[in-house]
């Protein structure tokens, strides 16, 4: 049992930390918790963004979200981006990291080149690729000169969806690559030396040493990729404006369109809350499913 003077001493020790972290906590609460709470409240109304009154309509917006064809199509496409984007970004990022993680100027240059797209604004990337992949853009012009038929990168719905995914992967894999390089550099060299003595091939080393030892980095990459790709918006906006025929409209695109262009902020808020829950569940599911692999590393 502690005395009052001991309690005071404990609080005196904690006080600087609490005061120092107060601004960050205030900002977090103000910029995340409060808006999230407001979004939940708005999702239960039919607020149009103009009216001074809020009419509560219960869970009507949520029911509508699950039955609205536009929302469903946008959600399905967003899940496609999240799945394929995560898969390819991590596969390509890890593969390239394994090749260029060593020292030397060529490797350093390669890392810079591969990371560079990640530093460019998503809107710029969308506009850039839109110009290059347009029906009469650079790529189709080159194909024509080579005697091939132009490809419908932005004009055929399935092709356009694949184009959006490819553009997202191109712009993001550099980030995954950097994290994997950091992970590779943290693996003790003795493991590789010992395995070499035991006659392990490079593939054996990757399979039994590198990949297992990268478990925590893999988890971080998977979660960050998944969560990030569920929010894709700018690339789709600049590349295809959600077309053709709404085929490349992502869920964030749909939310913003419903909220501001169509004046249905309540409905948009409901979709936002659903997106938040789905993102949290998926992130948690990946984290929990990776615990076994991470435990093996720490053990």
């Amino acid at each position: 049992m502690t005395t009052p003077s001991q309690n005071l001493l404990v609080w005196k020790r904690r006080l600087p930390g609490l005061i120092m972290s107060a601004p960050a906590v205030i900002v977090f609460v103000a910029m995340f918790i409060v808006p999230m709470g407001l979004a939940v409240v708005l999702s239960l109304t039919n607020w149009n963004g103009y009216s001074l009154n809020l009419n509560f309509i219960g869970f009507e917006n949520y029911l509508k979200a699950f039955s609205n064809p536009r929302t469903i199509d946008a959600a399905v496409f967003t899940l496609k981006i999240a799945f394929f984007g995560t898969l390819f970004c991590n596969a390509i990022g890890l593969g390239i990291a394994a090749l260029i993680s060593g020292p030397g100027k060529p490797n350093v240059l390669a890392r810079t080149v591969f990371f560079y797209p990640y530093t460019i604004s998503a809107l710029i990337i969308g506009f850039l690729w839109s110009a290059m992949l347009a029906p009469q853009g650079v790529v189709n012009n080159l194909l024509s000169h080579a005697g091939m038929a132009p490809l419908p990168f932005l004009t055929e719905p399935s092709f356009a969806q694949a184009t959006v995914v490819a553009t997202v992967v191109w712009s993001h894999f550099g980030f995954n690559m950097i994290l994997y390089i950091a992970g590779l550099k943290s693996i003790p060299a003795e493991y590789y030396e010992a395995s070499t003595i035991d006659g392990a091939s490079r593939w054996d080393q990757f399979r039994y040493i590198t990949f297992p030892m990268l478990a925590p980095i893999v988890t971080v990459n998977l979660v960050l990729s998944l969560v990030g790709f569920l929010k894709v918006y700018e690339v789709a906006l600049a590349l295809t404006a959600g077309g053709p025929a709404g085929s490349t409209q992502t869920i964030v695109f749909q939310i913003l369109s419903d909220s501001f262009a169509n004046g249905k902020l309540g409905f948009g808020a409901a979709q936002s809350v659903i997106l938040l829950v789905v993102t949290a569940v998926l992130g948690l599911a990946v984290t929990l499913s990776r615990r076994g692999a991470e435990r093996k590393v720490t053990d």
């Binding site: 006080l15 149009n48 103009y50 509508k64 132009p150 932005l154 369109s257 004046g263």
Partner: protein
Amino acid sequence: MIARRAIVAVAGAAALSLAMAGCGAAGNDAGKAAGGKTEVRMLVNITPNLTDKWWNELVAPFEAANPDIDVKIMAPVGKNVKESMPQLLASGDVPDVVQSLLPTKDLVPELVDLSAYEWAKSAPLASQNTFDGKYYIAGIGTQLQSIFFYNKKAFADAGIKNVPVTMDEFDADLQKLKDAGWMPLQTGGDWFTKLLPEIAGLPSIVAKNPQWYQDMSAGKVTFSQTYTDTLNLYASWVKKGYVPADAVGVKYSDAEQQFLAGKTAIYPMGSWFSAAEAKSDGKTEVGVFASPGQAGVTNPKMGSGLASPYMLMKAGKHQDAAAKLVEYLVTDKASVTNQLQVDGNFRDGFEYPMNDLAKELQKINAETPAADFIPVADGFGDMTLPSGYGAEFNTQMQGILTGGPVSTATKNMDSWFDNNR
């Protein structure tokens, strides 16, 4: 030592708090400009034509004539004025005057009723933009939106001597143009895929049923009942190759350039295109005609938009001064002419130096009876459709443009109306 650290931390936090409070304090004295003048804040769309500099020059004569009023031009905080309004209303940072936005049923409670002002009641398209008989908006002119621009050389090459006045003639002319080696129709992706079927169909649809907007909103008629014939015609044009195969991937600016470069024969677009045509190199000689009537329609309506509408916000701080400003903007000859000219809009009795194309548009505008002007897309005044109709219509038209069946488009539109009325 711990106590000293705690004191430093508290002092630091206090300083930070004061700094943040100082940031928040700025701007709390809005409404009074320097020198005790009344500050009227006007939210406007900033475009390549309507620059910040242009707006300030537009209002400068008003400020000179009213030395106690200072007009502050505000740019949108979002993508455009429409998307900025919810944020401004929610934050309480409401401008006195809003330009370029049409009132909707949701927005009307926030607007000043202008019915007492004669200048509002006599403004262009005033009666079409009323809500329950009240006036909430005043514009400077009309945008024509059911028109086809055409390449005169293409028509000459195809042996078309007169512009079509019926849709059957129009359809036949498209084949003549194709036979003469021209790509008949310019369309594209982006927001304007819908223009071609809308321009081809809406004027006749509303001519047959002047209550179409109200009936659609009330569910008395359906989209498929009224639009199927038009969409079948549109689909036939796509199938016959009257539009570029890759059109859906063409952006608005590229489509405009393709037509001006002489690559296509007919360009469905609004009258604001005349401003772009005037700035072009003039290699393509362009004419214009109103949308022809479909079978049985001799007086197709004219899709239109209100050019540069202005509204006053109830929450604005200076309604009298704002009303004076809007009266100047919509009635002063020099002001109106300037606004008409910069964006290629028209108003009977207001002339500005026009090229031949602009004169043709002015003629169409002058010859169209006032009652024949109808809205397009989501509509205006009491003739409105559920919010978001234009975007959904555009999406479904892109479906047809990419080869999808008309039945899918009409079914989806009917379903959309059922879910959004």
